[in-house]
Symmetry: C2
Subunit: 156 residues, 2 copies
DNA sequence: GATAGGGGTTCCACTAACTGGAAGGTCAAT
DNA sequence: ATTGACCTTCCAGTTAGTGGAACCCCTATC
């Protein structure tokens, strides 16, 4: 099969398949003309990767999962451990986003959304910073809001 | 104020502040020695940015929000529109992650996690791809799982 | 005056997981 | 011979920074 065929059958874009080869997740042999030659083994690997990615596993997780998949001797606990960590991260992310949603939802609800300039959303963002020096000033004005872990790739 | 002072007062790392200058979000003047000179105006801008980012607004959203913040004439509806879109995206992301959590949670629950190799998680990922040609084969085997939008930066 | 430290400056590279596009080779059919 | 669809590689860009190197500046101390 050529890359176009496996792309269609696996559901992964050809670009992605080439990328997966680049990073060593698949190693299709080449034909004389330089084309990649995929067999069912490679197709299954790619489909596996597609499903794992669709469950939000990181590429590095996928790499491990793939080696566990190919190891007929490995214990299910090894797989379960990875999945549990991933699940925990997903759930943590959900909580973070729910907190964000609540705060922002409140702000949006309180904003009239009309032609007038008064806006609780901007007012909330625009709280003035203290002009005083030193720690007290900072402590008095700091209203720590959790930073949503910007490595929001944390679904992984 | 030097960059270290505004960093402490705004809670943003100095590196981030320099980056925000790079992309034109703040424009502190320079001293003779080349140091950036921050005033309370810049400090407030940075604090504004920190809060907006902590609510998950993208840099581009922040840029818009900032210009709306500085426009005393703008209507609250303009601000609300941005916030609503952002809120919708957060809520969509939450739903996606909840679906993932449910699927993965089920798989994890069904996995014994012991020394034996049998593992529902791997089995789920490893479903064989049909060896037949054509659309029917693909339709018969495709079990479309929603791809969690990989631009998972979608909290923005 | 030399030196040490704790600032500051720039610039380059790296992150995750691709995606888009350019320039060009291959193949089957017309 | 020439389309057109496919394949190849390579480079750049995406998000929002972060880490590090090399180097400048300022103040205090010896």
């Amino acid at each position: 099969m050529n890359i176009g065929d496996v792309s269609e059958r696996s559901g992964l874009p050809a670009k992605t398949i080439r990328y997966y080869e680049d990073i060593g997740l698949v190693r299709p042999p080449r034909r004389e003309n330089g084309y990649r030659e995929f067999g069912y083994r490679e197709l299954n690997t790619l489909a596996f990767l597609g499903r794992a990615r669709s469950l939000g596993f990181s590429i590095e997780d996928c790499r491990t999962l793939l080696s566990l998949y190919e190891d007929r001797e490995r214990s299910s606990s090894e797989v379960k451990a990875i999945a549990k960590i991933h699940l925990t991260q997903i759930d943590r992310k959900i909580e973070e986003l729910q907190a964000l949603s609540a705060t922002l939802g409140d702000l949006v609800a309180r904003c009239q959304g009309d032609k007038r300039p008064d806006c609780p959303i901007i007012d909330d963002l625009a709280q003035q910073v203290s002009r005083e020096d030193g720690d007290q000033a900072i402590n008095r004005t700091s209203r720590k809001r959790d930073k949503p872990s910007l490595d929001i790739h944390a679904t992984q």
